[in-house]
């Protein structure tokens, strides 16, 4: 039990029953459903290959990319090492400038704070700019239960909301939908849409513009997330493309921003690093079309009432694990999703959390506690592509291995008998420890039979041929056929 530092045990994680960090089924089960959907795989393969090429081209333009990456990692590590001091500094600056800062231990508390703030304005409708934090806590549902309608204004979020669907990507939540599917959703769900709407992306964007314009011009309350908050100035920042963010951040009377406590940068100067890394990593652009920054309230310009909700919801539990903490460096660019061979084939829904892909596989289990997301650290080939593209240099593969240890340890403490995995690994460990044992085993025809059986076992009928737990092991793995002669035998003969 040496792996588990003592500190993260007992630190409160994100509570169950609220928000979207846990799936209804394990990753392998959800992935099996996704893998059977050919349309989904085609949509994803098109989208991820397009964005990979765009990102690679604009990153290659930047000669000091690795130096920027090193600086970004150092900045975020400095934030995490002094997180309480920076938060207190941010709170002071925002307050000085006329904003009001609220603290939320978890999703329930954040939802209650926001609901009360909206209720106090007397408004029953809010416009929302896409926000991972509010998806994480299930804010829209909480508002709905309080009789408040939330309108998502990002085009992809709108597609997801109208389709009664779930987002499947951090940056492009409707990446799993193609244009025909989107047209069909608009035709059936969007009030006042032209029934002759085509599936041309420009026509679909125009339909969304018309639908949302009146909301922007009349709604008095907006809710946003934040890409960054600057501790030394109290400045908040949102990057976006469509202008829906600017609409929400400037036109309403009241702005409520919900932000994870880790999304801080120490100084305004640090933006020189992150505004170079984020757009190129996420949309593959030199710069996103719109970036908005505001500091408290600006008299005569924009909302005259500003509330900032600082959200923990499992982040301090993540901070407590020294080997998992770096997941909190994440700036939600989604570069790791687009290069991941597992994400490309299963899509985001299989991860069960609003944070899918490689970063989701390390972030979600830490926010919820590994017991609530035990399959996610295994949802990876450990190929390392995610680490290569990460603008804040999170070593995701290394962290996945660490979290696998934590999952196994968690199972060991809650099971009296050894788990099938640990029994199997112990047997393999014994066999590999001595070269005589290993040579003997290689020669044994049983291994060959096992491998042949494993191929059979991937068919539904053949799966019964191997008993559990081996059936589960081989159902998602290909075993190579053993060679007719081992290298050791060949060497001995020569």
């Amino acid at each position: 039990m040496t792996v588990a530092g003592k500190t993260y045990l007992g630190m409160p994680t994100a509570p169950p029953g609220v928000g979207q960090l846990r799936g209804d089924e394990s990753f392998p089960d959800a992935a099996e459903t996704a893998l059977a959907n050919g349309q989904l795989r085609r949509n994803l393969a098109n989208a991820t290959s397009t964005i990979r090429a765009k990102r690679a081209a604009v990153v290659a333009e930047v000669p000091d990319w690795q130096e920027l990456r090193a600086a970004a990692a150092a900045v975020k590590d400095d934030v995490l090492a002094h997180l309480d001091s920076y938060l207190v500094q941010l709170e002071a600056r925002v307050t000085e400038r006329g904003g009001v800062v609220h603290w939320a231990r978890d999703a329930n508390e954040a939802n209650r704070i926001v609901t009360e703030l909206v209720a106090a304005t007397g408004s029953r409708e809010v416009v929302k700019v896409k926000s991972m934090a509010t998806q994480e806590i299930g804010l829209n549902q909480a508002l709905e239960e309080a009789g408040i309608l939330a309108f998502e204004t990002d085009l992809a979020e709108l597609i997801v909301q109208l389709g009664d669907d779930r987002p499947s990507h951090i940056l492009v939540p409707a990446i799993h939908r193609n244009r025909t599917e989107i047209r069909d959703i608009f035709l059936s769900e969007m009030a006042g849409v032209d029934c002759g709407l085509t599936d041309d992306p420009a026509a679909l964007a125009e339909a969304a513009r018309r639908y949302l314009r009146e909301k922007f011009l009349t709604t008095k309350v907006a809710i946003s997330g934040a890409n960054f908050a600057i501790a030394d100035t109290g400045t908040l920042m949102v990057v976006e493309s469509e202008g829906n963010g600017r609409m929400c951040l400037t036109l309403p009377d009241t702005l409520i921003t919900v932000m994870g406590i880790e999304k801080l940068l120490p100084s305004f100067t640090d933006l020189e690093v992150f505004l170079q890394l984020l757009p190129r990593s996420s949309t593959g652009e030199r710069m996103n079309p719109y970036t908005s920054m505001w500091t408290g309230v600006h008299p005569g310009d924009g909302p005259q009432e500003f509330h900032l909700v600082l959200l923990d919801n499992g982040r301090t539990a993540t901070l407590a694990d020294e080997r998992g903490r770096a997941a909190l460096r994440c700036i939600r660019c989604s570069a790791c999703l687009n290069v991941c061979p597992v994400y490309e084939r299963t899509g985001g829904h299989a991860y069960g959390s609003v944070y899918p892909g490689p970063i989701g596989a390390v972030l979600s289990p830490q926010l919820t506690g590994v017991a609530d997301n035990p399959s996610l650290p295994f949802a990876s080939t450990l190929c390392g592509a995610c680490y290569d593209v990460c603008p804040v240099a999170i070593d995701i593969p290394k962290m996945l291995v660490h979290l696998r240890e934590r999952v196994n340890q968690d199972k060991a403490t809650s099971h009296r008998l050894p788990t099938p995995e640990s029994a199997g690994m112990a047997a393999a460990s014994w066999a590999m420890r001595g070269h005589r044992r290993w040579t003997w085993l290689l020669r044994a025809a049983r291994l060959g039979r096992l491998a042949r059986l494993s191929r059979l076992s991937r068919s539904a009928a053949g799966r019964r041929l191997l008993p559990p737990p081996l059936s589960a092991w081989v159902s998602s793995r290909d075993l190579p056929a053993p060679p007719a002669q081992s290298f050791r035998d060949w060497w001995a003969e020569q």
Binding site: T7, M11, P12, N46, A47, D64, E67, L68, A70, A71, A74, V75, D78, L83, D84, S85, L87, Q89, H102, R105, D154, L155, A156, V172, A174, N178, P201, A205, F216, L217, I230, D232, S241, E242, G243, N244, R246, M247, T250, L251, I261, P266, S267, F268, T269, D270, E272, L275, Q276, T283, E285, R286, P289, T291, S292, M293, W294, D301, G302, L319
Partner: protein, 230 residues
Amino acid sequence: MTARDEVLARISTALGRARGEAPGEISGAAAIPRRYRRAGATAAGEGVPAGVGHQAELVELLVDRLVDYRATVTRSEPAGVADVLAQRLGQHRIDSVLVPDGFPEEWLGAVSAERRTDDALTPAQLDGIDGVLCTGTLAIAETGTIVLDSGPGQGRRALSLVPDYLLIVLTSDQIVAGVPEAVARLDSGRPLTWISGPSATSDIELNRVEGVHGPRTLDVILIQAARPGF
């Protein structure tokens, strides 16, 4: 215990501090390794000495980047700005144009469109105006970005957002090479809007579509000299 105190206590515990131990001094920006380019460089990565040649190179780079984002750039000598501006408005059939306080009057001499001022217009009233003119705070060549800070000639943030046509007049001495030079020049206390091309979305099969909620047209007039009065 309040939520604030509890979250702060959790952080302290998570970082392994003993109970009651004060958090360490925050190190600020000084402790961060900054071996990346911070000034005087172009996209080619070679430091270019500041001067006339450097500024000319930045102009070309900015124009290239803006056009790549489907903005339109028209270059003008200082004496020709009024004519170029009127011609751009005419080409886009702008019948009513909002002119923020502080926009140089000498650039408006040839404008025939109805001129409106910002008399605390409501969002719906702004929506009824065809286009808006403004100046900029600075522009970043490497990324094709124009930054507004709601200063004179720019007006509040909503002005450059709601009307469908946006025309920004820049002078070539407002162009900096990269993001670090821009951040160093900006005042964090002002509301800042960074604009890189017109409103766009890539949410449908990652096809870029211009014009979702912000202005669908971004027109830039670049004056090859210093701005009047600067």
